[in-house]
Amino acid sequence: MFARVTPARGLTVLSALLLAFVSTAGVAYAQAKEPIRIGWLSSLTGPLSSAAIAENKGVQFAVDEINKNGGIIGRPVELLTRDTAGEPTKAVNFANQLLHSDKVHFIIGPVNSGETLATVGVVAKAGIPNLIIGALESLTNPKKYPRAYRPIITNGQWIRAANNYAIDTLKKKKVAIVGDTSGYGTASAKQAAEMLEKRGIKPVISLIIDANKADLTDEFSKMKAAGADVIMPWTAATSLLARMLNTRGDMQWDVPIVGHPALMALPVKPLLNKPEYWNNAFAAGYRTSTYDENGKLPPRTVELMEKIKPSLGGKIDFTFWWVQLGYDCVKIIEHAVIKAGSTDPAAIEKAMNETKNLEGSFTTYSWSATERDAFPDADAVMNIAGTFKDGSFQLAPTK
């Protein structure tokens, strides 16, 4: 029934088995040690670089920390950073390179909404998980981009926080809205007006201004003539925001300015004609980078701050929430890979959809099969502009 096994044939079979074992083990070993490649599309140069530079510090720190601790499920993390210079065409080219040439397992970014609008479809088509860090609502959609997850706040949440503050806390009803001529600025100004109208307030005036316009006296005269009792700017251009504060100050018109987080960004400070021109200005911010009534930051913020400070030369001279977000992006990937047990995109999607109350440094993240935006409304707060200290800000008065 059974063929007789001669010593020579036995040796051959044994050799074949041994070879097969060695090959299989080799492949398994190689797979286990294959780095987890993260593509990082970051506008490290160009006009929108300050946020990206800060975020890059968080991303890089998290990667170093993970690798120092043995990687994720035994695999080292390899970070492939590509500088998009804030240009959508470059962002798309680099996204294609990362996806098809470098064969990354994840993509973080790009940093700006305009670039992300160009790349999100490209990354979705390749089926690779993408952490979205642009604020425009349309960047996430579980049907169109099933593996795109957003850890950052949305534009609507910023606007809602600022609108609520202007109406409910400052008790202002005559709103002047200002946007810049960029796609983001015009879309946000429109969205802000619509959200105000839903609350029963029609803006007394809406203005779109070129971000490089060097003089805003007429715009402010128009707003004053329209009876505005609060000005709400929706632009990330620090020069435009500084010119707004300067014009208000030079006109000696003490109308509150409430709006975009860039209003309290550090680059605004040197452009002000007088330091006090920053008074009576409030910007949308985050609970985790806000000092409470006792002057304390949340423990999770302090923890990361203490860890990262030595690598920053002991001081933090940029907005810290960008660092927190960058750090969290890598930690979210770590969480997903551990939960999925691999970097298989389908398994990662499942793991991300089942993520509930993942506590990060920036906020607490939850996603589901139908929800791709994780930032909770409760973590959106208003800050006082001009109160920068260690990358964080004071809470705006609530009464």
Binding site: D210, N212, K213, A214, T217, P267
Partner: protein, 286 residues
């Protein structure tokens, strides 16, 4: 409304100065350099650097900014114009000057930073001066000085006459013993100095900002196309007209129409009077 006019005049003066820079370079090289606006960008950045960071006296800061503009434009001529003109009649200078413009923008972004930085007050003056503020009148004054100075230079000096001779017929000028290569290099130094002065004078209006170069290149080109290539009077009137129209368009229709108006004016002039308001028609003798 008075403020709309004064702002239009001030920003128009910056465009006019850029248009004058185009003219001086074009007169000797027939090149419209893409890096023209970048000279003023350098004037603003180095002016702020010398005055605010190195704390140099005003006159040294001014001369330094002018010297940087002149040196940069001389290098542009050396690297991106001279060799290209010597080897080809095609408009390859468009690419070579674009490369210089892109490189200098990137270098400034890396060194100076990507956020605008303040330009210090040049004369003691409060900030609530309205239309009397120096930020409006300095660029207007610098452009007037530049335009008048150029006219005197062209009409009263030997080198000015050599510039005109080279502009009218470079081959004939060379036949008469004029070193046209040297004249071209001198014209780039002169125009660079003018651009540096304009950028320095406009610093308070524009801030010291690396991304200013391409915007000024475009608006200066529109000004020269409207006013007429080769005419300094046209450059000034074209620049002021563009500044005023942009200012009025923003006031009456909103900022989203500012660029539309500028480009619309360019297209209209090119259709109705392709040689510009004060330009002369190119006639080829046969």
């Amino acid at each position: 409304m008075l403020n709309v006019i004064v702002y239009g005049l001030a920003i128009g003066a910056v465009y006019a100065a850029t248009a004058l820079v185009y003219n001086v370079m074009y007169s000797t090289s027939k090149v419209l350099s893409v890096s023209t606006g970048h000279i003023s960008m350098l004037g603003g950045i180095f002016g702020a650097y010398f005055l605010a960071q190195l704390k140099l006296p005003l006159i040294i800061g001014l001369l330094g900014a002018i010297a940087v503009g002149a040196a940069f434009n001389y290098l542009t001529e050396l690297i991106a114009v001279r060799r290209v003109l010597a080897r080809s009649d095609e408009h390859l200078w468009l690419l070579s000057t674009l490369a210089v413009a892109t490189m200098i923008s990137q270098i400034m972004a890396l060194w100076w930073g990507t956020e605008p930085k303040p330009f210090p007050r040049l004369f003691p003056q409060g900030f609530s001066q309205g239309i009397a503020d120096q930020k409006y009148w300095l660029p207007i004054g610098a452009t007037i000085i530049g335009a008048v100075g150029l006219e005197i230079f062209y009409r009263r000096t030997m080198y000015g006459k050599l510039f005109i001779a080279t502009s009218e017929d470079a081959f004939a000028a060379r036949a008469r013993g004029i070193n046209t290569d040297r004249i071209r290099a001198l014209s780039y130094v002169l125009s660079g100095a003018l651009g540096g002065l304009a950028g320095f004078a406009a610093g308070q209006l524009t801030f010291a900002y690396f991304a200013l170069g391409f915007a000024l290149t475009l608006n200066g080109f529109i000004a020269i196309a409207v006013g007429g290539l080769g005419s300094n009077l046209g450059a000034v009137i074209g620049g002021i007209a563009l500044g005023m129209m942009s200012s009025f368009a923003t006031y009456f229709f909103g900022g989203e129409y500012q660029q539309t108006v500028a480009i619309g004016v360019l297209i209209l002039v090119l259709i109705v009077k392709p040689e510009g308001l004060f330009g002369s028609k190119q006639v080829r003798p046969v």
